[in-house]
């Protein structure tokens, strides 16, 4: 900001982080390390969020995650087309490369603990609402219910004054509501945790499956992901939410032989944002993670982007406040938004286009699976997924890929026309 915000006298900048998921945990840690008085409010410490739980390789390094929180290392990914053509898309992976599968209760707790160790205060409480400040530098008043274990389940109502707020409270964010951030479209993801017999589990040891087709989802994919001692079978959709159970049944049917005899141990569903909220920050309140709407199309990935956005937002605050010595204003937070959009908007855009082109009909999905059989495609996909950077491809291969893709699409569409002729 152009205006010089004044130095704070005899206290540090106070920032509240609402929500203790990957976004909140990462934000709180960075804030605390940056010398800011940090308060993290989380409603349920052992919350197992229903979530695919896949993290890219670069997250392990960037967030310094210990290897024992990763349940499984997926090195084989199977894409299965509507006509059941299965393509292995892990062939180009190098020996040390894998997609990590985590349980959210484990990852979230770990990141929170680390934030606490760095000096953040973690409060088990439910954020209710906040009073907006009258002046540009007067504090926000947060209202929350604290559960300290002594007063039982009801908790005690408390208030707290802070200088800035990071909203990391997920899809139904109350922080977003309180700054009138607007809504986003969301997809619903439905998932069943199924414990399958040991001999069937060996197949899913290091393998995940993705099913595409109008039967499993009109606009997303169905999946079988390996978890610590069971598999998660699920599907998602934006356009036909009412039919989700039908899609789930179809997903189960497609994977039937491989999960035969399994017992459903848990059924879960959760909303996935489709695009960011119209407003991602207002004055000294910023949204990160799902609350902001940072989930990619096509792959539906959110954990990494949540943690990353939390950290980026916290860095902007640390820098703007000169390690907690100065008051901040909206201009400081805008820097986070600017950097975020500059770094990740291309990724979001590409995945949006991919989803639109390849998930729109069965012929397109057939072409998509056909395309995934190409080693160059696999290499590029995994490079960009695992390391979150768009590697420059070789122009010759790019042209070959374009020609092949068009070829696949043309063939699939030709077959579609033939099918239409049949149904008349």
């Amino acid at each position: 900001a152009a205006r010089a915000t004044p130095k704070l006298s005899n206290r540090k900048l106070r920032v509240a982080v609402i929500g203790g998921g990957p976004a909140g945990g990462a934000a709180a840690e960075t804030l605390a390390q940056g010398g800011i008085e940090t308060i993290l409010i989380e409603r349920k410490m052992d919350n197992c969020k229903p979530c695919g739980g896949a993290i890219p390789l670069c997250m392990v390094g960037e967030f310094n995650l210990p290897l024992d929180i990763i349940d499984r290392r997926v090195t084989k990914m199977k894409m299965i087309s509507p006509s059941n053509i299965a393509v292995d898309i892990g062939r180009t992976l190098k020996e040390h490369e894998y997609i990590g599968m985590v349980r959210r209760e484990v990852l979230d707790a770990y990141l929170r603990e680390r934030a606490e160790k760095s000096g953040a205060t973690v409060i088990n409480g439910l954020f209710l609402k906040m009073d907006h400040p009258e002046n540009w530098d007067s504090p926000y008043t947060l209202h929350y219910t604290e559960y300290d274990g002594k007063t039982g389940a009801t908790g005690t109502k408390k208030t707290m004054e802070v200088d800035a707020v990071i909203g990391a409270d997920g899809a139904n964010s109350r922080v977003a509501k309180s700054i009138d951030a607007g809504d986003y479209d969301y997809a619903i993801a439905f998932q069943e945790r199924i414990r399958i017999p040991d001999e069937k589990m060996t197949y899913y040891e290091d393998l995940a499956e993705m099913y595409v087709g109008d039967d499993v989802s009109p606009d997303f994919y169905g999946w079988v992901f390996p978890k610590c001692d069971h598999v998660a079978v699920g599907t998602g959709t934006v356009t036909h939410k009412g039919d989700i159970k039908k899609f789930q049944l179809a997903t189960r049917n497609r994977a039937k032989d491989k999960i035969l005899g399994g017992k459903i141990i848990r059924v879960e569903a959760h909303p996935i944002p489709e695009h960011p909220r119209p407003r991602r920050l207002s004055k000294r309140v910023a949204l990160v993670g799902d609350a902001a709407g940072y989930v990619t199309k096509c792959s539906g990935e959110g954990i990494y982007f949540a943690a990353k956005s939390g950290r980026m937002c916290a860095e902007a605050i640390v820098e703007g406040s000169q390690n907690g010595k100065k008051m901040i204003d909206e201009g400081d937070l805008r820097k986070y938004l600017e950097k975020w959009d500059k770094t990740y908007l291309p990724t979001y855009r590409v995945l949006d286009v991919l989803q639109k082109v390849f998930y729109r009909s069965n012929p397109a999905r057939e072409a998509f699976v056909e395309m995934c059989n190409d080693e160059y495609v696999q290499k590029m996909t995994f490079d960009s997924y695992l390391y979150k950077r768009v590697a420059p491809g070789s122009p010759l291969e790019d042209i070959k890929l374009a020609v092949n893709t068009i070829g696949s699409l043309v063939r699939a569409n030709a077959l579609r026309r033939e099918i239409e002729k049949l149904s008349v």
Partner: protein, 216 residues
């Protein structure tokens, strides 16, 4: 993905494991119903062998997950046309009866084994005729109008940048707008692709009083 502080339940209602609502779903094929008959268990364990009536796609020419090309031979050459028709029929069947995947019987048929000229012959020629005809007509009349309006002759037009652009627009137009509905389709496609960007840009568009005041 971050946890929902401040909410006791997500927007989406979570059904209990016991009621995995299999009964409500319209049962289409016996393959589905056998798994649907078990509540809470997948596929079914004990009753499996007796009730299992999985419908699989069957065709004498479909062998080991691919079309047996030998059976499609006609005068010593593969009759690709009927391969295309057969595959279309199979896919249609699968759309109505989604099939369970199996690791023992993999589907290995790849449409790219059908040579490009077989596709061309089947789909492209009739349409190409039409497009060529259209392009020639438009080209001729455009050349005529440009000549009559500006006096630039056909040969000179070829060296003119403006005319080249016009030619390009005409060709692209003929390619992309084959039917009248195509115009609407293109417009929808454009709206669809720009929508996502608009959603992202929304954060930057709002007239924010606080930023304005802080910039002073």
């Amino acid at each position: 993905a971050s946890s929902d502080n401040g909410t006791t339940s997500p927007v989406v209602e979570i059904p209990k494991p016991a009621s995995v609502a299999v009964e409500e779903v319209p049962v289409k094929s016996p393959a589905e119903s056998s798994s649907a008959s078990e509540n809470g268990a997948v596929g079914g364990e004990a009753t499996d062998s007796s009730t299992e009536t999985v419908i699989k796609y069957q065709n004498a020419k479909w062998v080991n997950g691919t079309w047996d090309l030998k059976q499609f031979e006609k005068d010593g050459k593969t009759d690709w046309d009927s391969v295309i028709v057969s595959e279309a029929k199979r896919r249609k069947w699968l759309e109505d009866n989604p099939e369970t995947t199996s690791n023992d019987e993999l589907v290995v048929f790849d449409t790219s084994i059908i040579p490009w000229w077989a596709w061309m012959k089947r789909y492209h020629l009739p349409e190409a005729e039409l497009l060529n005809g259209r392009a020639a007509m438009i080209g001729f009349f455009m050349a005529y109008f440009v000549d009559s309006l500006t006096g630039v002759g056909l040969v000179d037009q070829m060296g003119n940048f403006f005319c080249k652009t016009l030619l390009f627009v005409a060709v692209a137009g003929v390619l992309f707008i084959r039917k009248n509905e195509d115009l609407d389709k293109l417009k929808d496609l454009f709206d669809e692709t720009t929508l996502y960007d608009k959603q992202w840009q929304a954060a930057w568009k709002e007239p924010d009083s606080s930023t304005v005041s802080s910039k002073k």
